[in-house]
Subunit: 193 residues, 2 copies
């Protein structure tokens, strides 16, 4: 692995675990096994390093979403929605550190001064909510989902599955046992008018 890549991963881990402000560049250097100066050779500033991490996250969410749509077929919209719930949990598990960064306020803070952070954040959230919205629209068309607002219900479902991921991340509750109840709840919400 390239030095730059190693620095990138070490920083991702530390920003996720400790937060942006709480992580010093010397810690990143120490964890990577390089001198402090090396980091600034590859990334022009601490903020630049963070931006690179967020950009890669955005791209990964994009790519994974494409892969999911292309490699799955659904019998109907309701089926697609249940698959989307799985997909969300899968995403959150393979990108656990990036999701933790999303749950922290660091990126929002930086977005106030650097609008590119805002753009990336918006893009990530739009994609995540979109997954459910597309499934609901599809379900309304094929009749597997009742006449409900796609956008609003997508957001409600997003808040539930996202909350479940948070419970899991913060180890506040066994999210596994909550999952079945979540699926049931979604079915109830979407099959009644």
């Amino acid at each position: 692995m390239e030095r730059k890549e190693t620095i990138f991963h070490a920083a991702t881990r530390l920003f996720a675990d400790k937060g942006y402000k709480e992580t010093s560049m010397s810690e990143v250097a120490k964890l990577t096994g390089v001198a402090q100066g090396t980091i600034f050779y590859h990334f022009k500033s601490k903020e630049d390093l963070f931006l690179a991490i967020l950009e890669e996250f955005k791209s990964n969410v994009n790519d994974e979403f494409e892969k999911w749509v292309n490699n799955h077929s659904f019998s109907n919209g309701l089926d697609m929605l249940e698959s989307a719930l799985d997909f969300y949990l899968y995403l959150a598990s393979i990108m656990e550190d990036r999701f933790m960064i999303l749950y922290r306020h660091d990126a929002y803070e930086l977005a106030l001064h650097n609008p590119i952070f805002g753009q990336y954040l918006e893009s990530i959230y739009d994609h995540l909510v979109d997954i459910f919205e597309k499934a609901i629209i599809s379900g309304r068309n094929d009749g597997s989902i009742a006449d409900v607002s796609p956008k609003k219900n997508a957001m409600l479902i997003f808040t539930m599955v996202d909350g479940l991921v948070r419970f899991n991340t913060y180890k506040l509750y066994d999210a596994g046992t909550l999952y079945d109840e979540l699926v049931k709840a979604c079915r109830k919400i979407l099959t009644q008018t």
Copy 2:
């Protein structure tokens, strides 16, 4: 207002707006209009000041919950749950700054070294989820709510209303129009088996 109280409120505002780490004690002093040293006369450290804020928040949630239970009567459990949704949104609006502090990671970070932070956080969250659980149990007894798991569904409903508050706080979506859909969703979830 006492000096100590003024410092307390200035710090609450700053910790909510900028975050704990990002707020310097000299900023708190400046906003309050006192010398830096005065803060350390009243609070032995920055952490101690934050702890005081979180403790007061915990007590306020406690008190407000008591007031709500004592001053309201409900025709049945489902009615109580809908009132609980209102109550949650009311709490989040009158304690907007404290909720923002809850959404930040600062307190969780400090909880790793100082378990009292953990205790306060747990107490706050327990109370917030409890509101919904109590309503569901009551509804199951009076028949207005179907045979569903009180704890799990309380947590799902908590994630939804909490997500709605977050949308509102971060101004990502007009939470007002989402509220009606949330109430409908809760009714669907709780009245079917």
